[in-house]
Symmetry: C2
Subunit: 314 residues, 2 copies
């Protein structure tokens, strides 16, 4: 058996859509129900945050199954979320703000890009929601980065379109859907959303640390970061996306934030993982912290057992 093949029956594609609703549990539960009730789809995780006013669902399945789940979830989002009345600390351009696909073992970037294209056409034909492609689905180098698409948010796009040709959607448009805005659809690696909370309400410190660590300001490779206020907790947060944890790890980014926070007279109050984290990222953090010289995935009993069981099958 090829080591990159999945075990029979293991899902091949992950989908992690973000919706611009983090406060109304009725809407969030209806979206979750739409996904869960789709045959073949396994909903692995859902999180929502009132300050971000945003919910994130993680599920896996085959391409057709994911399309069905997204169609049902999108119908609820279009009907329930109105960007003209939406506020939250997280940047966003639409009700169905972003739909990333992640190829797991047994799938490929190409298969996920084809899926992204089909979903974009579907959103336009069915709901008149235009789409932008980002990450490995991007049609231009500039749009590989989600933040370039999202600059100025819904309100910014509303002003720019339809006149600014540079900002026109890839599918549909040229204007936005009046209440549901637009959707960014992408193909990417497993992304780790890792928020580090600071024991200070001074937003300038969180912003300064975010600027120090993010790649776009000359910081750590494959790191995106924003300084955010957390009014409900009286704290501030460095909200981090690790877009390639094998280039910059949890261990490194945590170490940098801790160091910078202490230099600026505060400290790390705690951290949180939004959604899920790959096993390998956790193992890498433990390995680095504990200085284990002989560590590999097979040092972990459960991993070794799974490998050995697969090998011993006919």
């Amino acid at each position: 058996m090829n080591p990159s093949d999945p075990a029979p029956g293991e899902p091949r594609i992950e989908c992690v859509p973000n919706f611009s609703e983090g406060r109304d549990l009725t809407v969030i539960d209806r979206i979750a129900g739409a996904i869960e009730s789709t045959r073949g789809v396994i909903l692995l995780d859902q999180t929502h945050d009132a300050d971000h006013n945003r919910s994130v669902f993680t599920f896996v399945g085959e391409p057709e199954e994911l399309e069905t789940a997204l169609a049902k979830a999108a119908a609820i989002a279009v009907e329930s979320i109105d960007l003209r009345k939406h506020s939250g600390v997280h940047p966003r351009i639409g009700a169905i703000d972003v739909i990333p696909f992640v190829p797991l073992d047994g799938s490929s970037r190409e298969e996920c890009v084809a899926l992204a294209r089909r979903v974009a056409h579907f959103l336009w034909e069915r709901f008149e929601i235009p789409s932008y492609f980002y990450g490995d689905a991007a049609l231009t180098q500039n749009r590989r980065k989600l933040e370039n698409i999202r600059r100025g948010g819904f309100e910014g796009l509303l002003k720019a379109l339809p006149d600014d040709a540079e900002r026109r959607p890839d599918i549909g448009g040229p204007g936005l859907h009046p209440s549901a805005g637009a959707t960014a659809i992408g193909v990417r690696k497993f992304l780790i959303a890792f928020n580090i909370n600071l024991a200070t309400a001074d937003i300038s410190i969180a912003r300064q640390i975010a600027k120090t660590i993010r790649e776009s300001s000359g910081g750590l490779p494959a790191v995106k970061a924003l300084g955010l206020e957390l009014p409900s907790r009286g704290m501030t947060q460095v909200s981090i996306n690790l877009i390639d944890f094998e280039r910059t790890s949890l261990y490194e980014v945590y170490g940098w934030v801790k160091h910078e926070a202490e230099r600026l007279g505060t400290h790390v109050a705690g951290s949180e993982i939004i959604g899920l984290v790959p096993r390998k990222a956790i193992e890498m953090a433990a390995e680095r912290f504990l200085q284990i010289e002989n560590f590999d995935s097979g040092t972990v009993f459960e991993n070794r057992l799974r490998e050995a069981t697969r090998k011993s099958e006919p």
Copy 2:
């Protein structure tokens, strides 16, 4: 499905025998071959160390399968290892020095104790090797601790027996096997063997740190530790067993050794896991180090997927 039930086909008992041969690869390979060739047994790991002059094999299976593998491995050890000519930095009492059984999900302490008894009788009847029971298989409180059985090593037992009634074997005896000594057979939790190397050749520092952290000298609960020389590397080592990593974790023991080493003017050069480490112990280290507030086993993508897949099966 009860969460403590294993998935169908998952092994129920782990066995981790230690043999007093860490230099002669021919013998080590023959022992490995004997285990691997036993139907139903999966050999997960083997390590050997020249300074310790010791080899450790980790395998899983059903009770009868483990007995068969141990019988074959013991025959090779009895024929090849002579304690009268053996030297090494690790304490030992026999050729088949110690045989621990660990109940996994789906087995019990009781089932493993019964297995330990059968193996002890077998070693006596077939090879005239006497046994001591330790851990949860111990017949007296004093013998729960392996170090009480092992005190003075093979040479110490040779002097004490057969006269010292306090030190007589539980099965067989009253004297030792002339070349193969005795065997300690136990039932215990998953043990983590974690060695931390110090950037100093001064053995007194390693010994002092070991004394500070081990439970028997008033240190950390469920921690055993010895200071050892590593002549082949020009270093010293704090050789640690965590016998209950949920009481004292990798994170804590590493933190203490690092702190003490720095206080004594040296530092940690690196660490190593001997054998395997449970997934949960690695996750706990990463969680503590990264200060993740919302972490549980299901935060890890692969764990969540496995749980979800099991749940969705009929």
